[in-house]
């Protein structure tokens, strides 16, 4: 199943655009989705090291089932 994943921070400057379309197995959890992302990025796979998946409401844990709706890939944060 193709899912759109929004990109933020350093990921936006990586030549990937503002979002990615990634094929993720139906029923996958977050860990599985990150693995699929890594494979789809090929030589740029290390970009997602330290990144978390999140919805508009919460950061997702590795064991969470991937919810429907908006998804974002968040690199390590540094506000302030």
């Amino acid at each position: 199943m193709k899912r759109s994943i929004e990109l933020y921070g350093r990921l936006r400057d990586a030549g990937l655009g503002a979002s990615l379309r990634v094929d993720i197995p139906a029923g996958a959890n977050v860990r599985g989705a990150l693995k699929a992302l890594k494979i789809s990025l090929g030589a740029k796979a290390s970009l997602i090291d330290g990144c978390a998946l999140a919805t508009a409401d919460a950061v997702l844990a590795d064991g969470d089932r991937l919810p429907s709706g908006r998804l974002a890939l968040l690199p390590p944060v540094c506000g302030g």
């Binding site: 921070g9 350093r10 409401d57 968040l74 390590p76 944060v77 540094c78 302030g80």
Partner: protein, 145 residues
């Protein structure tokens, strides 16, 4: 009274944020204000771009303020700027008010530290040499809240 927590492209104003926590019951108001500095790690900075996952950032900032208010007898307000800021411009303001100063100082510190560690905001420094760099930060992976 509604708590002020704000992610905005607009210029931040310390007096407005402090007003949001003022109350005749409170004798102490503390504040923290972060701004873009000219030199970082030996490089001359011209400006900083703040990127943000806005819907989540609004919720996380409200949660941080609520946690501070649950932990200390304080009222908290916080605002974080997004977009490209020049040197000297204010990027973040936190204010905490309470009956006495100790709780206000502690809550203010707690909020800015949690902003640094949890708020989905990223900054890219733009240098005088024309290049730029996204700054490293704290991973949110494995964090439930």
């Amino acid at each position: 009274m509604r708590r002020l927590t704000l992610i905005t492209k607009s210029r931040l104003d310390l007096a407005s944020v402090c007003r949001a926590v003022s109350d005749p019951r409170f004798g102490a108001v503390t504040s923290f204000m972060g701004s873009v500095r000219r030199v970082h790690a030996g490089r001359t900075v011209r400006s900083v771009s703040y990127d943000c996952f806005a819907p989540l950032a609004q919720k996380v900032l409200a949660d941080i303020a609520a946690r501070a208010e649950a932990r200390w007898p304080v009222r908290v307000a916080a605002a974080h700027r997004t977009g490209r800021l020049s040197v000297g411009e204010v990027s973040v303001i936190v204010a905490a008010a309470s009956v006495h100063r100790a709780e206000a100082f502690e809550a203010c510190r707690f909020v800015i530290e949690d902003i640094k560690h949890r708020l989905p905001v990223w900054k890219k420094e733009h240098y005088a040499t024309g290049d730029g760099r996204w700054l490293p930060g704290c991973s949110l992976r494995g964090r439930r809240r």
